[in-house]
Structure formats: C-alpha cells, structure tokens
Amino acid sequence: GESVGLHLPTLSVQEGDNSIINCAYSNSASDYFIWYKQESGKGPQFIIDIRSNMDKRQGQRVTVLLNKTVKHLSLQIAATQPGDSAVYFCAELTSGGSYIPTFGRGTSLIVHP
C-alpha cells in the first residue's frame, strides 16, 4: 500500500495575489540562504539567495527577507501566477565550514486561477 507521510504546510492563494512563504532556520552561524522551487516531478531549482550581511534582496517578482535576530527567512512572490504552484524550500549554509545545504521541510504553494 501507499505510505502516508507528514503533510506539508500549504499556502493557497488566488492568481494575482501576493504570496509570502516563511522559513525558520536553526543555525545561528549560517550566513548564506537560498530559496528553491520544486515543481512536480522535477528537482529543486534556484530562485534567489541572500547573504547574512543583507536583510533584503529582490529579484524578478520575488523578494527575500532575512531576520537574523529571530532566525527567520521569507520569500515574497508578487502577482502570483498558476505557474508558481510548487513546493518551496529554504536552505541554510555556513560558508566558513563544509558547504552542506540544510533544507527546511518545504511549503506547498497552490495558486488558483
């Protein structure tokens, strides 16, 4: 039979709305953070990154905010589109040590037309 695992946190939005996906990281020594997007049946793809000497970075329709005080990262997607539907992961890294990305559990974003 099919195994049942934990359910992912899910965010449902309407097309055109702004989406905010949150991530708490664990290592206060982490100084490099990445957001990945994983569409069904594919490997994770890079969206945007940020270093710990910044608190905000903007890309095309996406913004990442970093709050080191509370070890929190967020990804904002403007004017969300159906093609944004995917699972989003944050990853934390420590550049001074061995380069091993540690991933959060992920958030499933569902965009309704």
């Binding site: 195994s3 049942v4 695992g5 934990l6 359910h7 992912l8 990445i34 990945y36 049946g41 594919k42 490997g43 994770p44 793809q45 890079f46 990154d49 992961f89 990853a91 550049s95 001074g96 040590g97 061995s98 380069y99 091993i100 990305p101 540690t102 991933f103 959060g104 559990r105 992920g106």
Partner: protein, 114 residues
C-alpha cells in the same frame, strides 16, 4: 547552464537487490551530494563528497554507500535494497565553501523497492 544528470528517472527494484544510482555534473564542481526526499520530511542528506575519493556521511547514511572515482561522477549504492528505501533520490553539486553558487540539482530518481 549547469547540468546535473541522474541516470534514471524511475526505477523499480526487488528487496535485496544491489542498486546503483548514478549522477554526473558538467561544471567541475568539487562538492556533490545525495539527498532523499519523502513526503513532509523535506530533503535529508545521505552522503556528500568534497573531492575525488573523499566522502562524508550525512544525516541518514545507514543502508547506503557512495563512490566518487571521478570528479564529475557521484554514485549512490544501496547494498541490499529494502522497502523503506522507496523514495525520491536527488543528486546535487556545488562549488566549494565561500563560493556564491547555489547547489544545482538533478531531476531526481524515483526508486520503488518491491
């Protein structure tokens, strides 16, 4: 564009079989990783390698081994496959510590052990 290629998209193997998952990257990256991905558990690191013939255990190495004989190729080996190893396996490569580059992923291999 960086390319990380995994040899199979889908595999079905029997319990007790020895299984090889192959991964090749074309960007001359030093670091390579194998993760498994299960519903609600995110990506968990099995093994990683920071150089040819070098390997380190990740968070869940039990039941797995790896091989890195050439810089571009990192293989994951299931010595005796079990049903609890049914999962999505993801290979990634990256530049050394301090580099700007993110980890690049392959498309994944969905392994079913019956």
């Amino acid at each position: 564009d960086v390319k990380v290629t995994q040899s199979s998209r889908y595999l079905v193997k029997r319990t007790g079989e020895k299984v090889f998952l192959e991964c090749v990257q074309d960007m001359d990256h030093e670091n390579m990783f194998w993760y498994r991905q299960d519903p609600g558990l995110g990506l968990r690191l099995i093994y990683f390698s920071y150089d040819v013939k070098m390997k380190e255990k990740g968070d869940i190495p039990e039941g797995y081994s790896v091989s890195r004989e050439k810089k571009e190729r990192f293989s994951l080996i299931l010595e005796s496959a079990s049903t609890n190893q049914t999962s999505m396996y993801l290979c990634a490569s990256a530049t050394p510590p301090g580099g700007e580059a993110e980890a690049f992923f392959g498309q994944g291999t969905r392994l079913t052990v019956v």
